[in-house]
């Protein structure tokens, strides 16, 4: 419990380089302000300013990181007090920054990946008349995200949390002339609100029970609460995490959010913002350490989500939606990881980092493909693009291999560690969570291979097609300003996993924040066997995908489906439409089921309540008749009730 002790002792005041940490927030905020207030005057150089602020922030973050590594492990938690934000006698909220290994890790991820994506966007958005505004929103997002991870209390975190929500809303709806984009933005906004309520109530509970919301004090005092309250807080925090990170049952907004420009999908909806939930749980580790039940719920949510994401990913033909469900599923892994407690916090963060690299790379690759394909997203219209876009293919391929856990690439190290830790749980949990995570490996391999095959290999189906706006397809490689970030991310996808896990580098570095990484309990299988098993499953997934997609030409339109599993099994012998029947159909059915559940149960409840309230309202407002005498009667009735109630309370 090293970290609890540290927390109890409180953090050290920031010194040296760390005293300028406010720059991290100020730089992107300055960029956003200049670009938004400057108006059209900044059109010419706005994108450059947008990139410059984030790159500067990255450089500063790197300096800060290096200066922190030179400190003793115990001195690595620093606090920078900025000003008293909300001081009322007993409610005093300071606005301060917490600079510790966990937040610095995120700073590097956000500004690093953020810089690359900013640069990429110069090319991607070059034809957009509103490019300046796009960069302003991106800068705003970076500032809010940094505030989220750097804040030294839950209220500051909440502030950043809402800020990234706002930026995400603005960016999803960036092309608001598309009705789908506007709807998706609204959906994201609403579903995030559900999670936010959970987070807000959790903060209220802390405030009510502990009288503080600063991390150091909350973590120091949390042990004094009874188990029920801690459980409630942990579940409410989890609800917040589910909303922001697209976890079951609040996952539906994330795929829709792909209506936004692709760099946004890469930065916000793959690498950074959606991982805020993981950050929240990891940051609150002293709370989760106290409640095994809370952690169990976290792991269950993570497991369910990772399976749902995989299964649905198998059914989509839209390249970005497949990647989006893949994100849902991978965050499921991370949530599963941090849900395991002290044996998993660091593993979840490790996977978060590697995923940040390869998923951002994959999205940028997908963006590059769309850039060359008239913004078409249907993979059935692609095919054989490898020759036309060699760099995109290479970088995308490396990201793909990293994602499915190909040996010695990033995903291999980070994902397997989580699977092993999951197997190490006691009793049935080990088998269930480990097994599910293992199954996920096969499914991931399947849908990603399907994506690769449909996009880059096979017949060049686009030759005989026109895009929906009537143009022919002329696929071409993207300009250097786009490919260079992709290459850098691809390099990261290859090496990050090894570098981070070699000698437990990341886990040791994070120890002051997350506590020591414990060894998983008693895995039922030896580690080598598990690695072999997961590799085997991966190969099976890849093989199946090749069998069902790679061998036969891919139909340009979705084929008619047979309706019975028996006929599907028979068709299997001919290898005919097997892809569709065995995987897509159940997947689709499941998807449809989930969509129906989503529409009918979740949306239904929301719209139902809204409808009921509107109906109630339209009826009740008729009671406001406009007759002054009926108003007087209402008042008299109210007065009689108030007086009668008072007398009843007194004399009963």
């Amino acid at each position: 419990m090293t970290h609890t002790l540290l927390a109890a002792e409180g953090a050290l005041p920031a010194a040296g380089v760390a005293q300028s940490a406010w720059l991290l927030l100020a730089l992107p905020l300055f960029g956003a302000a200049v670009l938004l207030l400057g108006g059209k005057a900044t059109n010419k150089w706005g994108h450059l300013l947008g990139c410059a602020t984030v790159i500067l922030a990255f450089v500063y973050g790197l300096t800060l990181f290096l200066s922190t590594t030179s400190l003793k492990a115990a001195d690595r938690i620093q606090e920078l007090h900025l000003f008293s934000w909300i001081p009322v006698d007993s409610l005093s909220i300071d606005f301060g920054l917490r600079l510790d290994p966990l937040s610095l890790t995120f700073v590097l991820l956000i500004t690093g990946v953020g810089s690359l994506i900013h640069v990429y966007s110069i090319g991607y958005m070059s034809h957009d008349t509103d490019r300046r505004k796009f960069f302003a929103y991106l800068n705003l997002f970076v500032a809010a995200m940094l505030l989220l991870v750097l804040g030294n209390g839950f209220v500051t975190l909440y502030f950043g949390w809402e800020g990234v929500g706002l930026a995400s809303y603005l960016l999803i709806a960036f092309w608001q002339h598309k009705p789908a984009a506007a709807t998706a933005a609204k959906k994201a906004f609403l579903m995030n609100r559900v999670g936010d309520v959970g987070l807000a109530v959790a903060i209220f509970l802390m405030w009510a029970n502990l009288g503080t919301t600063q991390y150091t004090e909350v973590f120091a005092k949390i042990g004094t609460l009874d188990g029920g309250t801690v459980l409630a807080i942990s579940l409410l925090l989890l609800l917040g995490a589910c909303g922001k990170s697209g976890q079951f049952p609040l996952q539906a907004w994330l795929p829709d959010a792909m209506e936004g420009p692709t760099p946004v999908s890469a930065l916000i909806h793959a690498a950074t913002m959606v991982t805020a939930g993981v950050y929240l749980i990891a940051r609150s580790n002293p709370i989760y350490d106290l409640t095994a039940d809370g952690r169990l719920v976290v792991t269950i949510i993570g497991t369910v989500t990772l399976l749902i994401g995989c299964v649905i990913g198998c059914a989509y033909d839209d390249i970005k939606k497949v990647l989006a469900y893949s994100t849902v599923s991978q965050i499921g892994y991370m949530i599963l990881g941090v849900g395991l407690g002290p044996v998993g916090y660091a593993l979840g963060i490790t996977h978060l980092l590697t995923h940040g690299f390869f998923k951002a790379g994959l999205f940028l690759g997908a963006g590059s493909v769309m850039h060359g394909m008239n913004d078409e997203v249907d993979m059935r219209q692609y095919g054989g693009l490898a020759k036309k876009m060699p760099i995109t293919f290479a970088t995308f391929g490396l990201g793909y291999l990293a994602l499915i856990g190909f040996p010695f690439l990033s995903g291999f190290y980070s994902k397997d560690a989580i699977i092993e830790a999951a197997f190490g749980q006691e009793g049935w949990r080990g088998w269930v969570f480990g097994g599910a995570a293992m199954l996920g490996v096969a499914l991931t391999a399947f849908y990603m291979t399907r994506l690769m095959l449909m996009t880059f290999f096979g017949e060049q189906r686009w030759k005989n097609l026109k895009s929906s706006d009537g143009r022919d397809y002329h696929p071409h490689e993207s300009p250097a300003v786009m490919t260079v970030p992709m290459i850098i991310l691809a390099v990261g996808s290859v090496f990050a996993g090894f570098l981070l896990t070699n000698g437990n580098f990341l886990a040791n570095w994070l120890e002051p924040s997350l506590g020591e990484l414990k060894e998983a309990g008693h895995p039922p299988l030896p580690a080598a066997a598990m690695t072999a098993l997961s590799l085997g499953l991966m190969v099976v997934g890849v093989g199946l995908a090749w069998l069902f997609v790679g061998r036969k030409p891919v139909p340009v339109t979705k084929p008619e489906r047979v309706s019975w599993v028996v006929r599907a099994a028979r068709a299997d012998l001919y290898g005919n439409k097997l892809n569709e029947t065995l995987f897509a159909k159940p997947g689709e059915a499941l998807t449809k089921g989930l969509v129906i559940a989503d529409d009918k149960a979740v949306d239904g409840t929301v719209t139902g309540i809204a409808g009921a309230l509107a109906f109630l309202s339209s009826r009740l407002r008729r009671t406001q008749t406009g007759f002054v005498r009926s108003y007087a009667l209402t008042m008299l009735g109210g007065s009689v009730l108030v007086v009668a109630a008072l007398l009843m309370v007194r004399f009963s």
Binding site: L91, Y158, R621, Y631, A632, G638
Partner: protein, 505 residues
């Protein structure tokens, strides 16, 4: 009886001590109100408008200056936190920290409201009588917040109400609905003051005095029947809740807000609420703290009813002024949540909420007064469709203000709700806070409905024009919006001030 008369006749009556410094702001406002009446009487018609604006502005500025002077001398007089305040006029008026805060709030909001009233380029089709009425009402509100006995409170209530009744009926353009608003407000207001007064009489019978402190003493130990106490408390509170437009005593609110001239509505919505809740806070804290376990449950119910009525009725409103009226009913419920949290946080958070709400509301009505069609203000929501395309700046400002009313972070509304709810939580009212959160979510629906309407609907063919605001209205809207933002980002200063001290009995 006669003996008593004779007995009293022997004594020389001593004049009460008057702390002129403390009550100077009120004296200035009321004095200038009298001056304003004389201006009405003796100055030629064409020169009145400008002169009246000058008189009213001078009144507020001088009152503000004397308030600042008193606060600084008061702070200098006591220890590090300053003296708690002064009770003067034989205990009738108590100028303590909350009263000073409320006076400051009222004067600040008064400036904004005056700016809206004074702008003739958009709305100003009122007679010049509006200015003396405005000053009298403002003076009445200030006395109401500081009144330390129920009789003073009653007189102040009438001094603030009577001018407001008249101001509601001053519109010349939409005369019928304006007069209807006035007559409704007047009849219901008088009805409510009768309840207040009956409550006062019963409490007088209970405690033998109408001083709040004496009532508190009597409530601890007296042989009189508690029927008098609780009957009186109930009726008294009804009168106060009416002024604060708390449901179910809100019925006048939508009609009057809609019918009154928009600048008057702005003044009424912001300042009356401040005064009414100032009074509620003082009465509950000073006189009835010891009986809180009896009345608290009842006010829980009232708060819930108010939030529910405001949120649900507001959902389907088609007139923007009516919608803001129901929003004010919902906000009254939230305020009541803070007011019945009987601790220092409850007091300071409610004071903060009042200030924040006042600025946002006045700015909102300022915006509403700018959207006009041929027949005057276009308050029907259908006419607001697609307004963002026609006037992006106005729509942006209004969106921001609506978000503040909904309580979205980065606005004062969020901080206000946050501090009020956390104060209520600290006082163990978690269920009430949960209910309040639910209803604030429901209420957010109707604010967002307007935002969606402005941004995502096609503008109507014969839609309203957005008139170019005069300098006064521009200043009022800018100030209101700026304060809404400022308090959302840096609420520290105001929160500090609001929590600087409690009531003096």
């Amino acid at each position: 009886m006669q003996e008593q008369f004779l007995a009293q006749a022997q004594q020389q009556v001593n004049a009460p001590d008057i702390a002129y410094g403390a009550i100077a702001p009120v004296l200035i406002v009321l004095g200038f109100a009298c001056l304003s009446v004389l201006v009405e009487a003796f100055v030629a018609k064409e020169r009145r408008w400008g002169l009246q604006i000058g008189v009213a502005a001078a009144a507020i500025v001088l009152a503000g200056a004397s308030l600042a002077a008193f606060i600084s001398s008061n702070d200098a007089a006591g220890g590090p936190t300053g003296k708690t305040g002064v009770t003067t006029l034989a205990g009738a008026v108590s100028v303590d920290k909350p009263a000073l805060f409320l006076w400051g709030t009222l004067l600040a909001l008064g400036v904004l409201a005056l700016l809206l009233i004074a702008d003739r380029t958009v709305g100003g089709d009122m007679q010049t009588e509006v200015f003396p009425l405005f000053l009298f009402a403002l003076g009445g509100m200030m006395v109401f917040c500081a009144a330390n006995n129920l009789l003073t409170m009653f007189i102040a209530l009438e001094v603030l109400s009577l001018p407001l009744y008249l101001m509601c009926g001053l519109a010349r353009k939409r005369r019928l609905i304006s007069q209807e608003a006035a007559v409704k407000y007047f009849l219901l207001g008088a009805f409510a003051s009768a309840f207040f007064l009956y409550g006062l009489a019963l409490l007088y019978g209970y405690a033998g005095s109408v001083k709040l402190a004496d009532i508190a003493t009597a409530a601890v130990g007296t042989d009189r029947s508690d029927t008098l106490l609780f009957g009186g408390l109930g009726l008294l509170v009804v009168g106060l809740l009416f002024k604060g437009s708390v449901g179910p005593f809100h019925t006048w609110t939508p009609d009057v807000y809609q019918g009154a001239p928009t600048s008057v509505t702005a003044f009424m919505a912001a300042c009356t609420k401040v005064a009414a809740f100032g009074g509620i806070l003082r009465v509950l804290t000073v006189a009835f703290q010891s009986t809180q376990w009896e009345w608290r449950g009842v006010l829980w119910g009232v708060a819930i009813a108010s939030m529910a009525i405001g949120a649900i009725f507001g959902l389907t409103q088609t007139d923007v002024k009516r919608m803001i009226a129901y929003s004010s009913v919902a906000h009254a419920g939230f305020l009541l949540v803070g007011a019945i949290a009987m601790n220092t946080d409850g007091l300071s958070s409610t004071l903060f909420y009042l200030l924040a709400y006042g600025f946002t509301t006045i700015a909102s009505f300022g915006v509403i007064s700018l959207v006009r069609s041929g027949s005057g203000e276009a308050t029907d929501l259908s006419q607001w469709a697609g307004l963002a395309k026609r006037s992006p700046l106005l729509a942006g400002v209004f969106t921001f203000l609506l978000l503040a009313l909904a309580g979205i972070p980065l606005t004062s509304g969020f901080i206000g709700k946050f501090v009020v709810f956390s104060a209520a939580l600290r006082d163990g009212m978690a269920p009430l806070v949960v209910i309040a959160l639910v209803f604030s979510a429901v209420a957010a629906f109707f604010y967002l409905r307007v935002v969606v309407l402005m941004y995502f609907s096609e503008p109507a063919e014969d839609g309203p024009t957005v008139s170019v605001p005069g300098a006064f209205t521009t200043v009022a809207i800018t100030l209101g919006t700026f304060v809404t933002l400022l308090l959302g980002v840096l609420p520290g200063f105001v929160l500090n001030w609001a929590s600087s001290g409690g009531f003096l009995s």
